[in-house]
Amino acid sequence: MTRRWNLSLWVGFLVILAGLFTFVPVFVRFPATRDFPWPTLLMLCVGLGMMAMGLRRAFAEPQVYRGRVLGSVLGALGVALVGLFGYGVFYAPRQLPDSAGSPRVGQEAPDFTLPDKNGNLVTLSRLLETGPGGAGKANGAVLIFYRGYW
């Protein structure tokens, strides 16, 4: 007697893969889906749920459904992938130094001189005096520190 294909196992695994592979090209581009990646998490949850359903079916009715062996392997792989995503998004990026010595509100920020993208030296205090492009005294400045490695 032939047993039925356990479709929800496969579809669940594909949904997990789709969730992971759409994260960087699509959802990272928007702050609302990057700062907290709810569409990706939703897809991963649906995928895991479908796989759990498929596995339950495979073990509860082995005479009807296939997928005990392969389903277990795929299930473990799915859980590992979701765990890796969680680590990469929620744990690793939070391992930052405490920066207790950085200037706080009301304190004077250190002055500096650094080369710009054309190699010309730029001094922060002078930039505040002359404004961008020498347009006159600036009312302030926004400093953005990047991780770099573009």
Partner: protein, 98 residues
């Protein structure tokens, strides 16, 4: 608006060209300024080098910090509207000079 990273000027030039950035983009290859702001994140670069943790500061004309954002996660950065809001606040507390 001034950006700072550990990348050399050539890399920043390329990066600005690709993304169309026209604001001042500075290179702190020895991470000296990054250190003076206590933002060094040792060994966080792709080749194991040091980089800056992401951070944003709003300074007034006397270089005093009016607002800052030290994010808890490097994937979460200040959004433009947060900076604009801080800029509005700064304008209220310290009206522009004559």
């Amino acid at each position: 608006m001034v950006a700072i990273s550990v990348d050399p000027p050539e890399r920043n030039l390329e990066h600005c060209r690709q993304l169309g950035y026209t604001f001042t983009f500075l290179s702190d290859t020895k991470a000296e300024v990054i250190r003076s702001y206590d933002l060094l994140h040792p060994g966080s670069g792709m080749d194991g080098g040091d980089t800056s943790r992401p951070a944003e500061f709003l300074l007034d004309s006397t270089r005093r910090v009016a607002w800052l954002n030290l994010t808890e996660s490097y994937t979460v950065r200040a959004r433009p509207e947060q900076v604009l809001e801080a800029l509005d606040e700064m304008g209220k507390t310290a009206p522009p000079r004559e």
